[in-house]
Symmetry: C3
Subunit: 204 residues, 3 copies
Amino acid sequence: MLQVLDLFGVFVFAISGAAVAARKQLDLFGALVLATVTALGGGTLRDVLLDRHPLGWFGDATPLLAVLAAVLLSVLWCRWRPLPRHALAVADAIGLGVFCVVGTRIALEAGQSGVIAVILGVMSGACGGLIRDVLCAEVPMVLRQDVYATAAAAGCTLLLAMDRLAVAPGIGLLAGGGLIVVLRLGAIFCDWHLPRFVLRGEDD
Amino acid sequence: MLQVLDLFGVFVFAISGAAVAARKQLDLFGALVLATVTALGGGTLRDVLLDRHPLGWFGDATPLLAVLAAVLLSVLWCRWRPLPRHALAVADAIGLGVFCVVGTRIALEAGQSGVIAVILGVMSGACGGLIRDVLCAEVPMVLRQDVYATAAAAGCTLLLAMDRLAVAPGIGLLAGGGLIVVLRLGAIFCDWHLPRFVLRGEDD
Amino acid sequence: MLQVLDLFGVFVFAISGAAVAARKQLDLFGALVLATVTALGGGTLRDVLLDRHPLGWFGDATPLLAVLAAVLLSVLWCRWRPLPRHALAVADAIGLGVFCVVGTRIALEAGQSGVIAVILGVMSGACGGLIRDVLCAEVPMVLRQDVYATAAAAGCTLLLAMDRLAVAPGIGLLAGGGLIVVLRLGAIFCDWHLPRFVLRGEDD
């Protein structure tokens, strides 16, 4: 189940990469590069930090094929009609939900403490999109949008709590991931906001 | 002593991250994310390059608590009054001094040669702030300001020289780190500059 | 031969870093930092992903000396006259060609599959320049220019095909690397383009 979810996350994050490429007027190969780093970046960083070698996509070509399929699908769709409004944000939300809980689960199974598992989960989910935005010279979504890191942390914490309460892992994955997706979609479509604790700038 | 210094460096770098977040009008969670990557980024990169696993902050929650404390303190301060002028630059200078010498020391103790120890020290000190600036879509301080990489390299080299002369490690740490902080503060407040070797651009 | 080629790649990539530093009006130390990350970034990322420790430049100071030599040479040249037109793009093209085939070869010798070897080759070649451009807050060349990732992938694939056909490794390295350099120089001087599969933006 972890593998199926992970593959699904790779697929939707690759779509978000292709959508950014479309917005930035990149060509097919640029879209492929951007989709690949978006889809594999977060998990690769998590595995390097955890010293989990060899990396998942080294021994198994399926994630790479999922990226390829997502890009081709995006390109074919774009030939036919424009990408739907919010395609980028929705794909990013689903990918975030999936990768956050998968990352938390993997860190727990690697014997990490709860706090670290949540941090590595948020990192797995957020870093692919972060690299995508940095490469396009934009301030990353995770810093710009308020219900983002908060949503990711909430979902990972829910998964952790259900793990501690000995709920079946599958249910924890669905509940935690679902919470993240719902919070993100609420932020996108219903304009949910956190009370802002704006920091005042320097006195100069 | 290495651990106490390291924790202090984490704390002040987290403050510099929060100060950038204030300048960029990020909210509390954005500030927390930015402070965390600033405070832990340089040391994590150093440990990954040295293959030192597990990473320091995996087994010990103190660095994460130091980041949290630094962000909360910055937020409380900002509720009361604006951040002092140069808060960002001074916090960055102190963090740079601390992380540079700690990184050099760790690389020496890992059996690396002197040149590599100096490079890894500069990297530990400079990369946290570099990631912070890249995430905010700015050219990093280490490239923009001239007495920065130079100051870092000078302090690391001083530590190395004192190590080779068999001075007690604690004295080397204080002398090297102190030199970096003094050079950076001089650059900030007294407008110290290096003679510039400006490279002329392309002939087009 | 792999080591000589690698050193040559380090040298030309360091020149490309110094050329960007000249364009951005950085000083000598900024140029040194930028040249170092450009020259060593791609290979370091490849080795971290492959878990090849210790890193090549840890035990051997030659790559660092090559970077130093490249920066000093660029600075001396700039004192005398402006950098030639296209110096940056040509240095980048040669560095790309060298690092792509060296990276593919190393991945093959580490026992990776053909697809992974090509991806790691492209990554070794493209990531140094990518980090250079991100640090200067620009969209990386690999995303902006169309005959770039394509050229890199073509050369790595040629090397792979010749390896599978049991051609001597040295010939594969030269043929693959040569193909990349020729394609890039064609793109720079003869304005070669790929048919563009432009993705249409979101409908909003």
